[in-house]
Chain length 339, copies 2
Amino acid sequence: MIPGPYLLYLGAATDVLAVKTARGIAVWRPGAAIGEMAEPECTVSVGLPRMTIAQGVAAGAKTLVLGFANAGGTIDETTSGVVLEAIAAGLNVASGLHMRLSGAPGVAAAAERAGVALVDVRTPPALPVGTGKRRTGRRLLTVGTDCSVGKMYTTLALERELRARGVAADFRATGQTGIMIAGSGVPIDAVVSDFLSGAAEWVSPDRSDDGWDLIEGQGSLFHPSFAGVSLGLLHGSQPDALVLCHEAGRETIRHTRDYKVPDLALCLERNLEAGRLTSPDVKAVGVAINTSGLQSDEAHAHCLAIEDRLGLPCQDPVTMGTNRIVDKLLACFAPSVPA
Amino acid sequence: MIPGPYLLYLGAATDVLAVKTARGIAVWRPGAAIGEMAEPECTVSVGLPRMTIAQGVAAGAKTLVLGFANAGGTIDETTSGVVLEAIAAGLNVASGLHMRLSGAPGVAAAAERAGVALVDVRTPPALPVGTGKRRTGRRLLTVGTDCSVGKMYTTLALERELRARGVAADFRATGQTGIMIAGSGVPIDAVVSDFLSGAAEWVSPDRSDDGWDLIEGQGSLFHPSFAGVSLGLLHGSQPDALVLCHEAGRETIRHTRDYKVPDLALCLERNLEAGRLTSPDVKAVGVAINTSGLQSDEAHAHCLAIEDRLGLPCQDPVTMGTNRIVDKLLACFAPSVPA
């Protein structure tokens, strides 16, 4: 979907949060990007060599990735100048901004003349309606007590741990940052609702190598605004395994005041209950906690308490890794024996 | 949204199923349409006076409604000729076909020149993200064991019964046929999934007259393709009351082979459980069964058995009405006493 290697454009960012996408690519896909490019005002880096477009092309870059976020998600004059320059140099361009690349003056025509692709990762591909038909292969889905509790990070950390053990595993992206990191995927919250399950089926098709599709979860069954997305993703994913994600200390559901973050056991049980519709033997294999709000000793005690109560390995993927969750996963699902 | 009264265009239909939309309007909104118009080949009627466009305009029609369905949902040359003629005569045009009215040659420009509106009921309006904020007023949602089990019919029948008793009640449409009947609504399966709950909140806003919003349900929590839509609608609706809809004798979920229609008690329990997130006191008040596949005596026995097992009034709205379900509804929810 997005041809690599990438040249990452950081714009005029002065805040690491604004370059979350570029940083995600640099951290999770070393080698996917060969350089970064930025305006003189930019004060941050993702640790790659600074390059011009010409230097990027000479080094083999195939796509300029807009790796920053801005208020409003628009493509301003500076950015559209950079995009036109990249196109003229023969680069494809990928963007996760709200405004489509073709909405910037002259960009669509320039891309057509140059024969390069414009990839707006917020725009879903053409999708089928879900069928519920059972697929081959193994799938894990991260589910959450809320939005923004670390589902993408956890899914990528599980991929890294499985690959380190020689187990085939692929992160399947369902959000725009994830799609940039993976180079493909489906922005599930931008999909027309009739195609929700179909989008999840499409992003994790049949596989026959005993490896795992690790599907990035979205939202929460307990979020009053977005639970429909979470349920469609859960059904379409047909997960064999679930990992529950949560942020320690969060008390109310994001962007609401009146909704409490659910109890972890209840949240997991509801996900298993709903998941059984399309995957009757779905199992929980672990809990991933974002403990960034706690001291280190508190964090360990917090995870241990959850572990005791739920009977599942519980780790903060950032500070503790995911090795014990992966142990549990592999213990539950031994590779199938060839006939 | 759709200015009335309507002139209903039946096209060249030779089958009553093809004019379901026109028929729905004629049956459920007597007076909303003042006439029907059709091609010479058309062999069906919805019981209204046959008129030309000129006669319709003379009789006061404000909108030509394309009241038929066809394979592919396209606007063919004959239809687009009729649409252009209607526009030239000063009529607005409303369509539930898959192809947008503005996609037919010359239609958009003609409508702009004439200053009339083109309403594609499959195209959702601009919608907010759901908030989960508790609304005033009372809401009932129909939920189902499957798609196409009679949720729209049941919801309209409940409206008729409540109005006959002098209780303010408004059908809130969430599908294209329903929107044509109501004259407004939201095609929930065409909404971008991020806005699912927001769409349901938008279609049934605060109300303060002690009346009921009766929200047309869609899909089923047990449909592997569409449960996300059903859950978003359930959460956004914040229903005080649920009516469960089912078709007697249906064994497998529509458009699937491997999925069984759920047990009614389980289906109702799951809807109540999920509904409590945004409406903690939600209650089931009845069961509506489509018994069209049964003999009359079998149908009564079937409903009685369900009534005994679920402890709720159970009726086929087509052959038995909804009086007992409405009795239960009104008994559960006495009008609030002014302070």
